[in-house]
C-alpha cells in the first residue's frame, strides 16, 4: 500500500498532496484540504451532496479515486464566492430560505451553477432537471427551485454579475 503525490488546482490554488491509494476525492478535499463544504452523503452517487466541478463539469466526488483527479481544475463550494462576496445563487438561497439543515446545499448550488453558467434564463423544468440528482430531506425542494429561478432573474438584471458567473 503505497501513497502517491496527486496534483490538482483547488479553487484556483495549486495543490500537491500525498494520497493513500484509492482514497476518495471527497475525503481528500475534506480531510487533507480542509474544504469541508463538500459533504459526504451516500457514497453511492445517489444523493448529490458531494457534487463538485472537475474541469468545469459537475461530478460526484465520492465516486472519484483521488489519483484520477491528477492535473484537473477543481472548484468546490468554497470557490463559488468571489472576494468574500457571496455568489448571487448563494444570496438567493439565503433570501428564499432554501436551506434548513444545509447538508445538501453545497451540492445543490454546484449543480445549479453549471445550469446557470450554461443557460442564464432557465425554465422551471430545466431547474428541476438540473437538480434531479440532489436529494434534500428538509425543504421539499420548492424553496430551492424558487431560489435558483430568483438567482437567474437577478443575474438577468445585472449583466456584470452574469459575466462573473461565466468567469
Amino acid at each position: 500500500m503505497k501513497s502517491s503525490y496527486v496534483n490538482f488546482t483547488l479553487n484556483g490554488e495549486e495543490k500537491e498532496l500525498l494520497v493513500e491509494p484509492g482514497r476518495r476525492l471527497v475525503d481528500v478535499l475534506r480531510e487533507q484540504c480542509g474544504a469541508t463544504g463538500t459533504k459526504n452523503g451516500c457514497g453511492q452517487g445517489t444523493c448529490g451532496a458531494c457534487t463538485i466541478h472537475i474541469d468545469g463539469v459537475a461530478m460526484l466526488s465520492c465516486l472519484v479515486p483521488a489519483e484520477l483527479a491528477e492535473g484537473t481544475e477543481i472548484v468546490t463550494i468554497e470557490g463559488v464566492a468571489q472576494n468574500r462576496t457571496l455568489h448571487t445563487l448563494q444570496k438567493a438561497f439565503l433570501a428564499q430560505a432554501a436551506i434548513q439543515c444545509g447538508f445538501c446545499t453545497a451540492g445543490m448550488i454546484m449543480a445549479a451553477k453549471v445550469l446557470l453558467d450554461r443557460d442564464p434564463s432557465p425554465t422551471r423544468r430545466a431547474v428541476i432537471e438540473a437538480l434531479s440528482g440532489n436529494v434534500c430531506r428538509c425543504t421539499g425542494y420548492e424553496p430551492i427551485i424558487a431560489a435558483v429561478l430568483a438567482a437567474a432573474a437577478t443575474l438577468a438584471e445585472q449583466p456584470a454579475a452574469a459575466a462573473a458567473v461565466a468567469a
Binding site: 493513500e20 484509492g22 476518495r24 457534487t51 463539469v57 461530478m59 460526484l60 479515486p65 484520477l68 440528482g133
Partner: protein
C-alpha cells in the same frame, strides 16, 4: 479502498495491468467505485480507462462507432438525436457526466438503459484482450460476459431509419429513476404499415437486457396497430421471468410491461411534469 490506482495510456497497457488477481477496470466509476464504497468489492488495484483515448463518436460508413469510455452526457450529439429519450431518462446530470456507454453495459438491472437500447439496435462490441481485438455481438456479450483481462473498447451499430425507433421507460419518478420496465424497439413497416422486420429489447424483466423473441414473432407480418401492439406486450409479459426489487415487484412489472410495450410501439404522449 484499493491498494493501487493505475492510469495506463494505451489499451495494451490496460490489458497488461488487468492481468492478475483482484484487478478491476474502471471507466466512469459510477458502478465500480460505488461497489467499493459500499464494501461489495475489494479490488487490489483499480485500472482506469481514462487515459486510453477510447472515447468519442465516429462514423464508419453507415455504422456509428462509439468509444466505450465516452460519457453518457456526450451522447447528446446530432448523429444520435434518436437516443435523446434514453439520455434524458438516464440517472442525473452529474451521473451522466461520469458514467460511460461501455460501463453501462455492465450495469445490473434495472439500470443499464443504454444496454437495452443498444440491444434493440443489434449493436456489436469491439473487445480487446491479451490476444488482440475481437468482435462480439452485444446479445452474445450478455450470455458469455468477458474474461477478467478483457475490456470493451468500442460499441458499433447502424442507426435506425427515421420513424422506426421506439423507446419508453416506466419509472417511479419523472426523473432519476431506474426502470420499472424499459422497452426499446426498431420496427420496419411497409407502406401498408405491415411489419417487415422488428427487434424488441427489454429492461426490468431479467438479470440483463434481453431481446423478446415472443413479442417480435407476434408482430411480424401484422399491421402495427393497437391490437397487435397489445398482443406483443402480452406475449412479452408471458415469456420473461421479471423480478422484485425496491423499484417494483415482479407482479407489477408484468402488469405494466404490456401497457408500456403498447405505448412504446404506438407512440404515447410524454408524461407531463409541473
Amino acid at each position: 479502498m484499493a491498494f493501487a490506482v493505475h492510469r495506463p495510456e494505451s489499451i495494451e497497457a490496460v490489458i497488461a495491468a488487468l492481468d492478475g488477481t483482484g484487478r478491476v477496470a474502471v471507466s466512469g466509476g459510477t458502478l465500480a467505485v460505488r461497489a467499493i464504497n459500499e464494501g461489495k468489492s475489494f479490488p487490489l488495484a483499480i485500472v482506469s480507462l481514462s487515459r486510453t483515448g477510447i472515447a468519442g463518436i465516429a462514423r464508419d460508413g453507415d455504422v456509428i462507432e462509439i468509444g466505450a469510455a465516452t460519457p453518457i452526457a456526450k451522447l447528446s450529439h446530432p448523429n444520435l438525436a434518436f437516443l435523446n429519450g434514453v439520455l434524458t431518462g438516464f440517472g442525473t446530470p452529474a451521473l451522466r457526466n461520469m458514467a460511460t456507454l461501455g460501463g453501462n453495459l455492465f450495469a445490473p438491472q434495472p439500470y443499464g438503459d443504454f444496454g437495452v437500447a443498444l440491444l434493440a439496435l443489434d449493436a456489436s462490441l469491439v473487445i480487446a484482450g491479451p490476444s488482440g481485438k475481437r468482435r462480439l455481438p452485444l446479445s452474445k456479450f450478455y450470455e458469455t460476459g468477458l474474461a477478467s483481462n478483457e475490456i470493451v473498447t468500442n460499441i458499433r451499430f447502424t442507426p435506425p431509419h427515421p420513424g422506426t425507433w421506439h423507446w419508453l421507460k416506466a419509472t417511479r419518478r419523472a426523473l432519476n429513476s431506474a426502470a420499472v420496465v424499459a422497452v426499446a424497439a426498431v420496427v420496419e413497416t411497409d407502406r401498408a404499415r405491415v411489419i417487415k422486420a422488428v427487434r424488441i429489447a427489454l429492461g426490468g424483466v431479467d438479470c440483463h437486457p434481453v431481446r423478446s423473441p415472443a413479442a417480435e414473432a407476434s408482430l411480424l407480418g401484422r399491421v402495427l396497430d393497437t391490437a397487435s401492439a397489445a398482443a406483443a406486450g402480452e406475449a412479452a409479459a408471458a415469456s420473461h421471468p421479471s423480478f422484485t426489487d425496491a423499484y417494483a415487484s415482479a407482479w407489477y412489472r408484468k402488469r405494466v410491461l404490456p401497457i408500456f410495450m403498447r405505448r412504446a410501439l404506438l407512440g404515447a404522449p410524454l408524461e407531463t411534469m409541473p
